[in-house]
Symmetry: C2
Subunit: 324 residues, 2 copies
Amino acid sequence: MNIVALAGGVGGAKLAHGLTLTPIPSPLQGEERRGEGMLTIIVNTGDDFEWHGLHISPDLDTVTYTLAGLANPDTGWGMAGDTFEFLGALQRLGSEAWFHLGDRDLATHLRRTELLRQGKTLTEATAIITRALGIKATILPMTDDRFRTMVETDQGELEFQEYFVHRQWQPIIKRIRFDGAETAQATPQVRNAIAQADAVILCPSNPFVSIDPILANLKPCEEFITFARFGKPIAAVSPIVGGQAIKGPAAKMFLELGVEPSAYAVAQHYAGLVTHFILDQIDRDQENAIQSLGMKTLVTDTIMKSIDDRVKLANSVIEFINEN
Amino acid sequence: MNIVALAGGVGGAKLAHGLTLTPIPSPLQGEERRGEGMLTIIVNTGDDFEWHGLHISPDLDTVTYTLAGLANPDTGWGMAGDTFEFLGALQRLGSEAWFHLGDRDLATHLRRTELLRQGKTLTEATAIITRALGIKATILPMTDDRFRTMVETDQGELEFQEYFVHRQWQPIIKRIRFDGAETAQATPQVRNAIAQADAVILCPSNPFVSIDPILANLKPCEEFITFARFGKPIAAVSPIVGGQAIKGPAAKMFLELGVEPSAYAVAQHYAGLVTHFILDQIDRDQENAIQSLGMKTLVTDTIMKSIDDRVKLANSVIEFINEN
């Protein structure tokens, strides 16, 4: 069973990590293997930006660090135990330093930027970095082309990191726009992964700014159209639990866009695409409503506090897809 | 009295630092002021190189860190107390990491590179960085243009940092070549400093790869030609003491180029240009020979172990120039 997971930041990375540690049924080989070999994670690059000449890919890094066991569990960005000598020195030199950049983390950005300058694609640079960190699952940027999530707010249109990090997602959102969506192409590697996939999982990432950018890039692909037409499973795990986002601005965004945040609202957002929907125990009263959107449902514990939680959720999702 | 000091790395930086802390006679104002306001340090940029997309100026940084009191006294490069988290992480990502780059030091390179990418000259970038670090003396790169010291050795022609850092100056030198010397121009700021100067001091830096590049760039300038023609003082402090270089490959280079390293050999190297020569007590037997090259001489303690030593030597040099 080949699994493609779509992921943005922390929540998506956690489930992706769980999937790498979960036995995925492999009927062809008559055996079960850990998921990493059959798992491809397509990651949002709408958050990417240039900072002091460096190409920064926040979601790629969050997924990479999480899978490599290097992620900082407290912050949701950067590496555990990282130091900030560079950033302090940069500030003393009078430079903008609102983007939190640890000394070890910086090496990833410099290496990526260097590889891109050498003419490598972002996909190739990501493969080099993830392999160097010992990751066996395939992590793919959704595109090698420029694609920028722009947030139209009460304070004007903002680049995503400006909105998210610098202004700490306080501006009120009016609309989200994907700059470059018309020209950015899904990569051959992404298209191939979809062509080989038995199931696609939308991880519990922000629907508007993590999953939608990937889908915007993926939906025009013949491989994805075929995948969906044949009724293959597209599962989504709700990032909204008890009306709240586990992390980040998803619930706030729903409200600002005029929708009460809920698991149901997430399901509605994905209606017509998603076939399998996973919601938390706490939201079980919404199960029937979600089923009425034409989705199969699984009610389970979705909050991932420990690595064990990640594996359990990944296991539940795989079983749910496999048996339905 | 306006002083222009020509400096390369550690030894040059130390004397330049001493000069900033020394009262320089100011006859026009009838008073003495600390040297920093009347001191311009023209720094070798022949060692500059690109590393992982960053513009690195080793000598500019050594002078800057020394004057800012941030230099690492043990290594001769980088900042005191710096950490190396970035470099370790970069190595884990499979990247070349032979150039020792501390986390705080890195901020300087990134800031400089950023300013250059914004269209600033190296002179402007240096002014921004040195001012941010509280330096009042003017530190000028010898040129804003590309100028690269290339070292022809028994292992082939090498870029300077490749020779100096990566191969730890072990290859045998045959010849030194200044790539770009024909086109690189002294900056307006350098030319103006020379036009205003009452004396030029060649700091105790490597004659071949620190001072010669600056001179190669300076000699064609009308301002420098005029300065020399009017017989204004050009003083040199010997970087060779007791036949040895205080630091670095100067003595080894003399030998490989077929000259016994000595204070006299340094004076001979500068013959026809330098009017005042400062040599160490230990080399006092060479005083007459140096005088026979047409130079006035000062024999004094030239080894700078403490900051007090820097000030004392700077003081001696200023007095020597002023009274002769």
